[in-house]
């Protein structure tokens, strides 16, 4: 099969468009206020509908853009309010096509309008609430029939209230979900909403997002997702998605892609029937003799080991393709199903492990170091007058690490304390520390033990602070090993000083580990990992 199109594509690498560069004009904010006022007015049954509509139109800007906006807005309104199927498909098509052709600013305006003018009929909700509060719970000794009658009133008003509390945009979402291409469109709508929310935190839009998120979670339940092995025989239109969306270790050229689908490699994706030819999430697997220590070993391993000699399936990359599905855990069952599939096809594989990034390590470490530095400065200047700061002050380095850092020649490292020196080294431009063997050897010990601490002990609401750690732990993995200089790419250095981690899925223990992590935050780890942390605990 010729992959000409793909090859062309590879030269000009495709990435999903980011709209976040567009600026938001202050004009639109004024409109937003007017819209909200009009919205409120219409809800309250006051006049001003016609007048404010014109006023609003007039402030939009150029006439043709305004007409275009009004046209799409009208098709959206039809798609919501139409009662019969006859023109509904047309309305939905017009709406989605019009929306796709919109500028970022018009999309923003339309989404705000949807969020504000298509939410609830609040006066209806209040009316029902009053009826509800007027009901009294039946007395203890009432007759069955009376009791049934009273409960019937509860059920009736609760049902009506349930319906009244559904925003009007629910109809649009439901209709799009069953319309060809609609689910994909909804995912794009949500990506736009999330993008706008990073610019401005608008309550109505947040409510729209949260509602759409819930809906999408229901529609994309694991039962609706099909596990598909992606191979070189798949259509170029699907493979280009893999190239475009590989988020962990970018695919550099056509040969690289072919290798990732060839001997000793597997790639699996979840497809949804309503979004054909485009996996929502995919996972890349390498078949190896042992658990790899570095991503270079995986990506550059050439020629590959004959598959019959392999014993380890290494998950080295998981990427989701739809920014609009953020917050929906599609990977939850993917790993389990891939393990089952690989185990069935290749019984000689006995180890299922990952080679994973630690995306939050450096961010956590640097803020920790900066914070301690500030506390230390405060301590010195105020000479213990504010003892409270001391409780937050923590020597995060072992004495010998502190010593080694402080005894570095001054041309290599500057700092009043070991922590300050470390902070300065790690934030130096172009990661120049990794080019000095002396610096590397001095930094290795503190970075490794602090990394183990970060993964095993730093938590938020009882869950691992690191998002990838949390993902694998809640899937039932254990922490097996952390690897020094495992990802020397710029991305790897900036995320985790080049450290990577192997999580291992131990067959027969997956459910147990997932359960203990879920119920009391317990993180299973190898003795190696515990060793890093215990050593430093003892020394402190």
């Amino acid at each position: 099969m010729s992959k000409k199109a793909l090859s062309i594509l590879m030269r000009a690498r495709m990435r999903p468009n980011s709209n976040s560069n567009h600026s938001v004009s202050p004009l639109s904010l004024t409109n937003a206020v007017k819209q909200m006022q009009r919205h409120r007015n219409s809800r309250e049954g006051q006049s001003a509908g016609g007048a404010s509509r014109e006023e609003n139109s007039a402030s939009i800007g150029s006439g043709s853009s305004e007409r275009e906006f009004m046209h799409v807005r009208a098709s959206m309104d039809s798609a919501v309010s139409m009662n019969k199927t006859e023109f509904l498909d047309d309305a939905l098509n017009n709406f989605s096509e019009g929306y796709f052709s919109f500028s970022h600013e018009n999309r923003r305006k339309l989404l705000l309008l949807l969020a504000r003018e298509y939410d609830l009929n609040r006066s209806q909700v209040r009316e029902l609430i009053k009826q509800y509060l007027a009901l009294e719970l039946p007395a203890d000794k009432a007759q069955v029939s009376e009791e049934e009658g009273l409960f019937a009133s509860f059920y009736r008003i609760e049902r009506n209230l349930r319906h009244a509390l559904k925003p009007v945009y629910e109809v649009l979402f439901e209709r799009l979900n069953t319309h060809p291409g609609g689910l994909r469109f909804l995912s794009i709508l949500r990506a736009d909403i999330l993008c706008i929310l990073t610019e401005e935190n608008i309550a109505s839009l947040r409510a729209l997002d949260s509602y759409l998120h819930e809906k999408l979670s229901t529609w994309l339940s694991p039962a609706t997702l099909e596990l598909h092995q992606i191979t070189w025989d798949d259509p170029a239109s699907l493979l280009e998605k893999i190239v475009a969306y590989e988020a962990v270790h970018p695919i550099s050229n056509l040969l690289d892609l072919k290798r990732r689908l060839g001997i000793g490699r597997r790639c699996f994706g979840y497809l949804h029937p309503a979004i054909p030819g485009e996996p929502l999430i995919f996972i890349e697997v390498a078949l190896l003799k042992n658990i790899a220590h570095s991503i270079q070993d995986v990506l550059e391993d050439s020629p590959p080991i004959p598959e019959s000699e392999t014993t380890c399936a290494l998950f080295y990359s998981i990427s989701s393709t739809q920014p609009g599905l953020a917050g929906i855990n599609l990977g939850k069952f993917l790993i389990k199903r891939v393990i089952t599939l690989v185990k069935r096809e290749m019984p000689h594989i006995s180890t299922f492990a990952t080679l994973s990034p630690i995306p939050g390590f450096m961010q956590w470490l640097l803020s920790k170091l900066a914070c301690q530095k500030r506390l230390a400065e405060g301590e010195m200047s105020q000479t213990l007058t504010e003892g409270s700061n001391l409780t937050f002050y923590e020597k995060i380095l072992k004495p010998e690490e502190e010593e080694a850092l402080m005894s570095l020649p001054k041309d290599l490292a500057m700092g009043q304390t070991g922590m300050e020196t470390m902070f300065n080294l790690l934030t130096s431009t172009s990661y120049k520390w990794i080019h000095s063997s002396e610096l590397v050897s001095v930094l290795k010990s503190p970075l490794m033990h602090l990394c183990a601490r970060y993964i095993l002990q730093e938590k938020k609401r009882g869950k691992a602070l690191d998002s990838v750690a949390n993902f694998h732990l809640q899937n039932g993995a254990m922490v097996e090993r952390i690897n020094w200089m495992a990802d020397r790419s710029e991305n790897g250095l900036s995320q985790s000083a080049g450290i990577m981690v192997n999580y291992v899925y131990r067959l027969g223990h997956i459910e147990e580990y997932a359960h203990s992590y879920f119920s009391n935050g317990e993180i299973h780890a190898s003795s190696d990992l515990h060793h890093y942390v215990e050593q430093s605990d003892k020394k402190q």
Copy 2:
């Protein structure tokens, strides 16, 4: 492919089990009251939980049945309350298997328990409602930020209220929907609920049914249904379903089934991915030269016409297989999709028609005749003192029909009026009127014109009173012809005095007709049909 199993099956015809014969013990009603009381107690935070539970168990009856009930109840509770996936599948399996093994009485008890003890946390709903009422809508001239803040409170409480108003059993439904076999199980649960509701009208169970109905409607949207042509090459396990569920014209033997899938015939079904091998609804089609006048012509047409000579596709039977999906319009898009498919494969087919039963005609006619008879008697005894009755009195026969009925010899027919005579003839045992050519010729005129009136003019809430008429009219069909002696089976005689109707789907007018029927109840009909009604209108 050998159809041995099917052949065996045909001898002992399978029908879906009806549970409606089981009696309901008065004991269970007492339990129901106790349960409701316990329910209320626990909601109100009072004690008595443990005590009433024992008391309740004690009254159930035999120990082993009680243990069995408690076991399934416990698995249902786990299926609702379990937070992790690890044992959820087991709990769902235990619950559904246990439920299947239950007697009608145990099913009834469990469903009532589900309806009453797993609905809402009403005190939480009340708490949120109080918070909601405390909010005030923002004043007109408020600042954007304040306004946003206020709206944020609305959105937050509305969202919480939405969640609080979801019954606890929603979780069970959602989980079953994504569990293998769960959707089918839910359809059986609903069939049982509907069956119990025909025995007793229990408010909590009605609420459960209405909630499940809504859920099923969403999950079974046309987008999730796959159109499948059913052929003799399909597995016997699927074909046995066709035999079992054919509701309109029962399949009499294996040869009959083979003919309905052979030359000149088509059968299409809607399948749902979660209920494999079992169409939810299926439609049988005959390819003919002209629109058939009688079902005998269709079922006994042998040998069939060569398909290349046919011009008409006749839909002669539509059956749904799941009593638990009652009220969910699965056929809505089926006919449209079948028409598109047939037209594409056989461009020589230009007419799409049905040969349909008129299930409500005789019931309507007999109650009309009985009512007029009672009114006439009242009129005579009270000699016009109560004139109000007169407004309901109506001469539904034409003068010449009245005359012909009254001049029948007394050994053939008895009655003081034509209507009474007609009533007596139509309700005589074994439909003996159809064996007398004299009676048949006298009855034909009034039955045909009243049938046309019933289909075209008798409505309920603006829709055709007859359910099959309403089904085809809302799908966009028109009424083409009514056929005398078109179904001489006992079923056909009891439903509609043997009359059947041809609805025609006119390509290019389907959407238009559906719309005008939907928006103002307009029924499109041929001039023949109108003729029947106009004649009688003039004469009155």
